[in-house]
Symmetry: none
C-alpha cells in the first residue's frame, strides 16, 4: 500500500516501537505481541521482518546506540577541545526526553548484555567507538597543553576509559534511581570532573553547580 513502508523502514519502525516499550516499561515487557500492537501491525508481520525475537532485540539495541553515535558525529567541532569534550559527553546523558529514552534503553540492554552474547557484541562495538573518539579528543587536549600539570599526567587511552566510566556511571545512576539526578545535577557533576581533568580549559557555562 504505502510505498514508504520499505523493508528497511519497517524494521526501523518496529525498533522504534520496541524502544518506546523498553523506555516506558522495561525490557521484560517486550514481547512480539506488544511490539506488534505498539507498531500497529500483526504479529506475523513482525516475524516476517525479524525471524527471532533476539534478532529484533539486537537490531533495536544497535539502532538506539547508532542514533546516539550519529548525533555525536554530527556535532560541529567548533570551539575549544574542552568545550567539545563536554558537548560529546552531554549527548550521552539523559538531559532531555529524547536522551532519557535512549539512556533507559541503553542501560536495559547493556545490563542484559552481561548474559547475552549477541547484545554483548553490540555493547563492545559501541564502547570501542566511544573510546576511540574520546582518546582522540584527549590526545588533542594534551597537544593543546590543556592537561598540563595534571597529576597523574593525562594518559589519553586510559583517561578515555575513565571518562567513559564517569559518563556511564552518571547514566546508570540517573536511570536506576529516577528523580534523584535531574539534568542540571548531571551536567554539574560532569563539568566538575572535566574541570579537574583539563584544568586550563575554561568552564563551559556558569551556574553549573549541582547538589
Amino acid at each position: 500500500m504505502n510505498p514508504m513502508s520499505t523493508a528497511a523502514s519497517r524494521q526501523t519502525q518496529l525498533a522504534e516501537a520496541l524502544i518506546q516499550i523498553v523506555a516506558a516499561r522495561g525490557l521484560d515487557q517486550v514481547s512480539v505481541r506488544e511490539v506488534a500492537g505498539a507498531a500497529g501491525v500483526s504479529v506475523g508481520a513482525v516475524q516476517h521482518h525479524f525471524s527471532t525475537k533476539d534478532e529484533m532485540l539486537a537490531f533495536a539495541f544497535r539502532h538506539v546506540v547508532d542514533r546516539t553515535l550519529r548525533r555525536i558525529d554530527a556535532l560541529r567541532l567548533e570551539g575549544g577541545v574542552a568545550q567539545n569534550l563536554s558537548q560529546v559527553l552531554r549527548e550521552l546523558l539523559p538531559l532531555d526526553e529524547e536522551r532519557r529514552v535512549e539512556c533507559r534503553v541503553y542501560v536495559a540492554f547493556a545490563a542484559r548484555a552481561a548474559s547475552d552474547p549477541s547484545l554483548a557484541a553490540i555493547q563492545k562495538d559501541t564502547q570501542a567507538q566511544l573510546l576511540d573518539g574520546l582518546t582522540e579528543t584527549l590526545l588533542r587536549a594534551r597537544a593543546d597543553g590543556l592537561a598540563d600539570g595534571l597529576n597523574p599526567p593525562l594518559d589519553p587511552p586510559v583517561d578515555a576509559r575513565l571518562l567513559l566510566a564517569v559518563a556511564d556511571g552518571l547514566v546508570f545512576d540517573a536511570v536506576s534511581e529516577p528523580d534523584r539526578l535531574p539534568p542540571d545535577q548531571l551536567t554539574g557533576l560532569l563539568e566538575r570532573y572535566l574541570a579537574r581533568l583539563l584544568p586550563t580549559g575554561q568552564a563551559p557555562s556558569p551556574g553549573s553547580h549541582a547538589r
Copy 2:
C-alpha cells in the same frame, strides 16, 4: 525437619540460590521453578516463604546489597583517609569471584529498578547509605587537608555523588563488557581518579597503572 531451617535462614538460602542464577544466567532466567530447583526444595516451599515472586526478588536484591554494605562496614578504619576511601570503593568493584557475582546481580537489579518501583526503593536506600558514608569520609579528608588546592574545591556531598558514579560506572562497564575490564585495570582506573581527587593522599599501592 532440620530445626536449623528457620524461616529467616530458609529465605536467605533461597536468595542465595536466586543470586547464583542471576549471576550465571541473568535476571530473566529466574523463575520460581529454577530457584526451587537450585535450592533443592519444591516449588510450593519457595512460595511458602515468599508469597510472590516480586517479594522474593526484592528480598534477594536487599540481601545482596546488604552483604556488600556489611563488608564495607566491617572494614577496619586504620590507615589514612585516602587509603580508607580506596578500600571502601574497592569493595564495590568486581575484583574477585565473590564481588563479581555481586556486581552482576547489582547491575541486573539496578537496571530493572528503572521500571520496578519496589526495586527502585531498595536501590535508593543503598545509594543513600553509600553517599552518606562517602560524604563523611570526604569531610574528614577535607579536614585533614588532603584536598587542598583542588580546583574546583572539594564539595563533600557533591563529590560523593561523583565518586559513586565513578564506581558504578566502572562496575557497569565491567559487567556489560565482560573480559575487557579485568581487576587490575579496574583498580588502576579507580586509583587514578582518587589520586587526582585527593592529591596529597599517598598512592595506596605501587604499579597500579592501567591501560
Copy 3:
C-alpha cells in the same frame, strides 16, 4: 478431589483421550489442547503429567500396544497349536471396534516411527515381543508335526517374521483403505495363509472364505 485420580491413572486417562483422537482424526490432529479438552482437564494439567508432547505420544503408543499384548497374553492356551496361532493373530486385526481403534492408532504411530527414534524404540520392542511369541508357537507346531511336508520347510524364527508381516500387512491395508477389508475378509485371508503354513492343523471355522 477424586482420590482415584492418582498420577498413574491420570496419565492413562490422558493417553486414552489421545488414542481416541488419533483413531478418529489422525495423529496430526493431536495437540495438547485437544487432548486436554477431550480429557476434560486444563492444558497445564496435561503438561504437569507429561513434560513434553513427545513424552505423551510415546506413553500413549506404549499404552496401546501394551493393551494388545496383554490381551494376547491373557488368551487361554487350550485347543491345538494351530487354533491358538489363529487366535493370537486375530487379536492383531481390526475385527471389532476396540481393535479397529487399536489398529488405526498402531498404524499411525508405527508409520511415524520411521522418522521418530523414540517411537521406533517402542515399535522395535513390540515387534520383538510378538516375534518371540510367534517363534515359540511355531516351534511347538513343528514339534507337533503340523508343518510336515511344508516346502520350504518351516523355519520358526523366519516364518514368525513372515507371519508378522502378513498380519501387519492386513492391518495396514485394512486401515489405509477403509471399508474394503471388512472383518470376515480379514479372517478369511488370515486362515487361508495359516492353512497353507500348517496343512495338518484343522481349519478353525467353516465359512471363512473371503474375496
Copy 4:
C-alpha cells in the same frame, strides 16, 4: 525464464522435493516453506502451482505411486510367470535407495489416508491397480498349472489380496523398524512366501534364504 519449466514439470519438481523431505524427515515436516526451500523457489511460487497444501500432498502421493506402477509396467514379461510375479513384487520392496525412499513415502501417505479422504482415494486406486495385475498373473499361473496341489486351492482374486498384504506388510515392517529388515531378508521372506504359493515354479535365485 526457462521455457523448459512448464507448469507440469514444475509441479513434478516440487513433488520430488516434497518426497525427499517426507523420506528424510517425515510427513509432518512437510510445509510449504520447506518444499519451496528444498526446490529452490519462493513460497509464492509453490502456491502458484498448488492452490492448497492438500492439493500438493495429493499430487505428490499420486506421483510417487505412479512412479512405482510405471516401473512395474515397464517390466519385460519374459521368463516364467513365477519369476515375473517375483519381479513385480520386488519392485514394491525397499531393496535399493530409490525404492527405500518410495516405501517410506508410501507408508507415510497410506497411514495418513486412514483419516484423509483425498489420500484414501489415491490409495484405493493404487491398490486396485496392483490387485488387478496380481490377479491376472495368478490366473496365468493357475492356467500354467503352477499352483496345482495347493491347499486351499489358488483363488486368484483372493490370493492377490493376500499377496498384496504380504508385500505391504514387509514394506510396513521394514519402514517402521529400520535396520531390522535389510534387502536380502526382505527378498528371502518374499521368495519363501512365493515358493509355497506356486510350488512348481522354480526358485528365481539361489541363496535367498533369510533369517
